[in-house]
Symmetry: C2
Subunit: 400 residues, 2 copies
């Protein structure tokens, strides 16, 4: 049985400890923790999903290289304020220097240390300053520090993002918990997303990667942060086995998916200025790819997002997105719903007198819309938020 | 010789007359002309480019049907305030009703009348009210009414957009002139773009279409309005031959391209809140498609656009776009220029001390950047504007 845990973070599973300090990574004297360490009392198996961006940041290339040798690690050092991206060979060297310093402090092998970075691109890390704080990070490791870790990885996020579940089995319980950071603005395709998920379940590399791939598809790859586009996007799933429980794989997959979806929704809710959480469903498309393409085009459209902010059921903008997506669709067979309200059938509004009903739905803080293409049997769901600032008033008020 | 003409509009070529009225198309009693008529004393040959959106608006489908029969027309009726899109069979009937009324007023065949619409999608046109104004439009036709026509087709545009050239040849002169409307906000992929270009040169259908296709590629298809996405985007090129001049085709193509580029740049400059005009060059890509794809990804990135508004030479965001575009590129061979200043070579910043020089360039109202991929020999140029409103301050000030 999978139960959500309140306030669970990366240290919720057995054996995971964390710490965080202010290392002034940006060099601007900000009063914010920006360097943090995650450590497991025993090595953990690791699965990972990295950005599809051709220009991957140094910590990703460093981790990918290490993972070719083996999938077992014991510590992760993460900084915010500097992405260590577009930093060439020196960027990789800096990862190695940091990993060595962490390894020295913890008495482990440097090949067991992963690093992660988020922040400005194209600037070298202040490695010496960072190294000078690593001893402190090692000393302060504690299983009560999930929140500190969550805060330290934030950049433009307005709140820390953590989630976790307890899975009870016939042989005992295990925990899956995680932390993520998105960005204040959800629309751009370069917002760096970092996510670290920990578990004390006993899972081998292959099953771990399968569970993560499944979870990412329905969560981080179904929100409009476009996590495959930043130079730094990374999701790690780390299993140290300390619960002694070998989980049922279906249940484990569901547990990881639950945590990822909750974290992904938090990223959407933290969209800069977001006032509404929007679920876009595309039903009965001819392929799953079509369904996702169409749903993403709707979810990314500034005109659609401003329409939600303006609470205006300007359904034609949604129809235009379907046509613009280039997926198999015909105006005369496309149906449109606001929540469960069938508003347009076969491409035509059913009755303009229904507008007040649709307008009432548009006033909800969470709104679901559905486009039924009636060209097949595949579906997709994408999560997004409205665009709420003054600059878009011209579009939000377009029909006034 | 091609010379730009100041304040030239659709009536600048011989024989073209226009008129405009307030027909209250939106039904909200706005004080704005929103219905206009363009007429030529003799029939004109017509070339057209329509949106690639699957769900084409009724006037486009109406025009495409008529153009299957012949490319000769004599009048165009255009309204703003209602797109006549997603309006089914009745939408087409309404085009026919309007064309009939125009034909009756002018004493021409209804098959010689084109219609065009821009505005809200999914609402039927107030045809009776529109028809009631057509007699007035016919009565008020005058070659001094270019400006009225330009104003009547505006929606969220903040200024009318007209351009024209005079082409002097050994046998006399002809004129190419045009009007366009974009939208206050440039980024969205559904801003309706309408463009009407007139000329008194004598050109046949085939050459006319070739000239228009060439011009659109380098102008309307090289700005970030994504003109192939709206349900209504249309460019018409109309040649009535009244100058008696059969132009040299290379010169004619250049004249049409000049007018289109000037109009397209005006659309970019009218981007909502735009404070900067940005030229994005991608050089030495392996294919022209790669070059354009990469340039568009940069030009459409909210993070890049906010960076321009923040006047911050945060070059890493540009590099990240190259990687995100998925085109053939390697970080270690990519060079980056602010204007002519080589700022990053082989993926690395040349010298952080150059930042003040780049920052000074970023303060210019018009800025050109160049990404040299060094993976081939193809290039592309795309025009865009910054994103300037408060809501994006969080990204513009990201490095502060």
């Amino acid at each position: 049985m999978i139960q959500k845990i309140n306030k669970a973070g990366v240290c919720a599973p057995l054996g995971f400890l964390a710490s965080a300090v202010n290392a002034d990574v940006k060099g601007k004297g900000k009063d914010k923790k920006d360097l943090c360490l995650l450590y497991s009392e025993v090595p953990f198996k690791t699965a990972a999903v990295f950005t599809a961006n051709t220009f991957k940041a140094a910590p990703l290339r460093h981790a990918m290289e290490l993972m070719k040798q083996g999938k077992e690690f014991q510590a992760v050092l993460v900084n915010s304020g500097n992405a260590n991206a577009c930093t060439g060979a020196l960027g990789i060297e800096n990862c190695e220097t940091l990993a060595q310093a962490v390894a020295d402090s913890l008495g482990i092998d440097p090949s067991k240390v992963l690093t992660g970075s988020t922040g400005t691109i194209g600037v070298q890390l202040p490695v010496d300053r960072m190294v000078s704080h690593i001893e402190t990070l090692a000393d302060e490791l504690d299983d009560g520090n999930s929140d500190l870790f969550a805060e330290a990885i934030m950049t433009t996020d307005t709140f820390p993002k953590q989630a976790g579940v307890l899975v009870e089995t016939a042989n005992g319980a295990y925990v899956v918990a995680g932390v993520t950071k998105g960005a204040g603005m959800i629309a751009p395709n370069m917002a760096t997303m970092l996510c670290y998920i920990t578990t004390d379940a006993m899972v081998n590399d292959k099953n771990l990667q399968a569970a993560l791939d499944h979870a990412v598809k329905g969560s981080f790859n179904s929100i409009t942060v476009d996590n495959d586009m930043s130079t730094n996007d990374t999701v790690f799933l780390m299993a140290n086995g300390m619960s002694g429980i070998i989980p049922d794989m279906d249940e484990f997959k569901e547990a990881v998916a639950t945590v990822c979806l909750e974290l992904a929704k938090m990223i959407v809710k933290d969209g800069e200025g977001a006032t509404k959480f929007i679920t876009v469903n595309v039903k009965n498309a001819s392929t799953e790819e079509d369904a996702k393409k169409c749903a993403f085009l709707i979810a990314n459209s500034p005109l659609v997002k401003t329409m939600f902010h303006g609470e205006d059921p300007n359904w034609g903008r949604l129809m235009a997105c379907v046509g613009a997506s280039g997926v198999k669709a015909d105006e005369s067979t496309t149906d449109l719903y606001f929540e469960d309200l069938l508003y347009a059938k076969g491409g035509l509004i059913i009755d303009p007198a229904m507008e007040p009903k649709a307008a009432a739905i548009m006033k909800q803080p969470e709104i679901s819309i559905t486009l039924d293409l009636n060209t097949g049997s595949e579906s997709a769901t994408v999560y997004t938020c409205d665009l709420s600032r003054e600059y878009i008033a011209i579009n939000a008020d377009y029909r006034s």
